[in-house]
Symmetry: C2
Subunit: 460 residues, 2 copies
């Protein structure tokens, strides 16, 4: 299979002329009906939606046909929910109809038992013979807001954005777009690829690597089908777009669980450590980390170096954040003579420190201008690559004033919002040049990942 | 100095008959006035409040006296904000008046310059000579809600609770009580001990160790004055009360910053690793971790062992959380035959897993009862020491139903709330037996700390 061809096939899957929902029925709790409803809610043109079901005439206002071959209009994508034993016939019917992409949501295949393994082999053979491409089985389908494809009704954002995702976990392919939207981060596509019996991690990585709608790639993976190809692609794509990879199943038990989850062979933790190092992919270890990193790569410019300036209104916090920065390989920036002089002018004498980490003292809580002047001075210092600020001021004009000077800084700026401050006032959403975290240590880790990625890009 | 005497002295400081605010004036932005106002807002009896200032008659309705010796009523505590050069005389005056506790908030002493070091030595000598005890200098004072002492006006909770804190960082001694209150966690006392020129970490640890109002001790420390005594006390107190210690200044730069912050000698990271291991103190590495651990020790029973049962409605999340649990030294519990049988009865077949980690499948989002039955079955399993549940159900009756069965479980139960779920519904506050975290990895870390602490208590 040529790569260019696969990209073209995926392009058509993401932007289908018509979609058939196979196995949707009027039964209560029917999953196909739930997804059909999702497509309608998401704004997919009802005239290009079809139900395939042997016993239904119509499901929530959409006409049903006994088989895919009976559908009159053009269909490029089928999403299958019918029982596993019917799936080989469904794939055959779809091929006959000329449907190029079949997403099999039905589970109970390779991840389940020997009969499931046999059935999975059978559908792969049918699809190969007919040039039909499969996603899944055991997945929740495709989310693509620009063409109104949806994987979970009612909660997926309608806005498109530059994040492309593929995931062995269906629920994470739902969870991340929903969670990220609360920070104003949107997705181009999210693909739940389940047992990857045909289209796999490498195909999707290659697609996103060249997709003009995608600037950042995130993934949850338990194993990898074509290890070498994935490695080569990851190294190549990382040079252009950051890849945030959460690798599950690295422990023995995790690995066993992954095998019952998606039938994946997970690979050892040591091998994966090396893969991360050599490919420039960014290693993610939890859902929260994924959202942390995503926020940074979405909103911040890459830092030019590893020198951080720390500003706090709490000396203890500044000390502890400096510890964390150093632990994660950042350098505490040496401030220039000019900057020190400027800080000595603006920062009051008592209970403060104008060396880096800069401590503005507790009364800075009531002094927005002090933060503004400090950020401005540090932003101009050529020896500072990025700023990490524990937000002190509780004045309502604070963020407005700070944001006014940020345009001139053009370095990553990260604010740490303490839970105490959050109690007093609402934070703004992250925005170009500025990200927000609730913990200094997490912020330091995020910045270290950006530094490492920038270094990979410079070296390769 | 006998220990029993120090405890008695601290007891009087925490419950003073009268308080003198030294250096409060009617000037705009005067820190003493701000604190005086804080005492009044907190509910401290105005009749037992006094201002000491050479040039004022009255400050916000509180009568002022030229020196402490001029105050007519009984005073056990003075809180000092006057300029550093006046502090030796202030301490002398307080001693003459018979005030046994002087909290020096003024900064610019040992942490600042040679003149500051000299002044600090002078006030220590004066206090020793007169039997007056000092807290600070360079601190923000004492918070003790049961006697209406307050360190920062307007934000401190009025409720008392079982958490005792001491901190080299003044702002953290404010931040933690404010932040913890949002989770229903309250403090007995929080002491900002600044440069610890007299009463030090060991004195406070010993006090909290025997304080009937305190069940959990938390601390932010940059260094330690009496290392051996602190070590001995920590080991002893840990057997009865958990000590959550955030140690700042462990890196070179952090250490330098700490020295300019509170003049502390911080000690090497390696030494501190050993201290944590041998004393049973719980190592905290960030503000968020402190709040995470505090929630657990506040609301959860200690786990009897390290065997965890994981429940998810997202297979990928379950796999990744199992990885994190193992990384942190927990064991994935082997479920009993009986539990497996029970789970096979209640959990639907498709896209689920009844082995641990238990995966209830994506549709569990709409099935509260499924979670309830699963939690009940796992709770009864003798081979399960604690439960870690990724909350799946978005039904409004979910938590109510779950909480109804939790009473019978009597094991630590931790829920992981995904940001996506948070968007759909409000979480309840943590409560007896139940804690909430926003990340599975963080939850696994928390449980591992509880297991380690329980092991220390059993072994010692």
């Amino acid at each position: 299979m040529k790569d260019g061809k696969t990209i073209e096939e995926l392009e058509r899957i993401f932007h289908p002329r018509g979609v058939a929902i196979v196995g949707a029925s009027n039964n209560n709790g029917n999953l196909g009906k739930f997804f059909l409803d999702g497509f309608i809610q998401q704004g997919f043109d009802k005239d290009n939606l079809y139900v395939v079901h042997p016993g239904e005439q119509e499901v929530i206002g959409v006409k049903a046909y006994p088989t895919a071959q009976d559908i009159p209009g053009d269909v490029d994508l089928a999403v299958v929910f019918s029982p596993r034993e019917t799936v080989p016939k469904v794939v055959r019917d779809c091929s006959m109809k000329g449907i190029k992409g079949v997403v099999i949501c039905t589970s109970g295949f390779g991840e389940k038992d020997s009969e499931g393994i046999r059935l999975e082999q059978e559908i792969v053979e049918i699809s190969r013979r007919n040039g039909t491409r499969l996603i899944g089985p055991n997945c929740v389908g495709i989310y693509c807001p620009s063409s109104n494809l949806v994987n979970f009704a009612g909660v997926m954002p309608k806005e498109s954005g530059p994040v492309g995702m593929f995931s062995h976990s269906g629920s994470l392919s739902v969870m991340f777009p929903v969670a990220a939207a609360t920070q104003g981060i949107y997705f181009s596509k999210a693909v739940s690829c389940g047992n990857v019996c045909d289209l796999n991690e490498s195909d999707l990585l290659e697609y996103f690597g060249q997709d003009p709608e995608t600037d950042i790639i995130i993934a949850y993976m338990e194993g990898v089908v074509e290890g070498r190809r994935f490695y080569r692609l990851a190294r190549q794509v990382s040079k252009v777009k950051p890849i945030l990879l959460w690798k599950g199943g690295t422990s023995d038990v995790g690995s066993r669980a992954a095998s019952s989850h998606t039938g994946a062979l997970t690979g050892s933790a040591i091998v994966w450590e090396a893969v991360f190092k050599q490919t420039g992919m960014i290693k993610v270890d939890s859902a929260e980390e994924m959202l942390d990193y995503l926020q940074a790569f979405y909103f911040l410019p890459l830092p030019r170096g590893n020198r951080v300036a720390i500003v706090s209104g709490m000396g203890g916090m500044g000390v502890a954040i400096a510890d964390a920065c150093i632990e994660y390989g950042l350098e505490i920036a040496q401030l220039s003579q000019y900057t020190r002089k400027r800080l000595d002018e603006v920062v009051p004498q008592m209970g403060t420190c104008t060396d880096n980490p800069v401590d503005l003292g507790m009364l800075s809580t009531f002094n927005s201008q002090l933060y503004v002047d400090t950020i401005e001075a540090l932003g101009k210092d050529e020896g500072v690559d990025m700023l990490l600020i524990t937000r002190g001021s509780w004045k309502s004009d604070y963020m407005e004033k700070v944001l006014a000077v940020l345009g001139e800084v053009e370095k990553p700026i990260v604010f740490v919002t303490t839970p105490a401050r959050k109690r007093v006032m609402e934070e703004p959403l992250p925005m170009k040049g500025v990200a927000f975290y609730t913990d200094g240590r997490r912020a330091a880790l995020v910045l270290s990942k950006m530094v490492a990625y920038n270094r990979f890009r410079s070296d390769n």
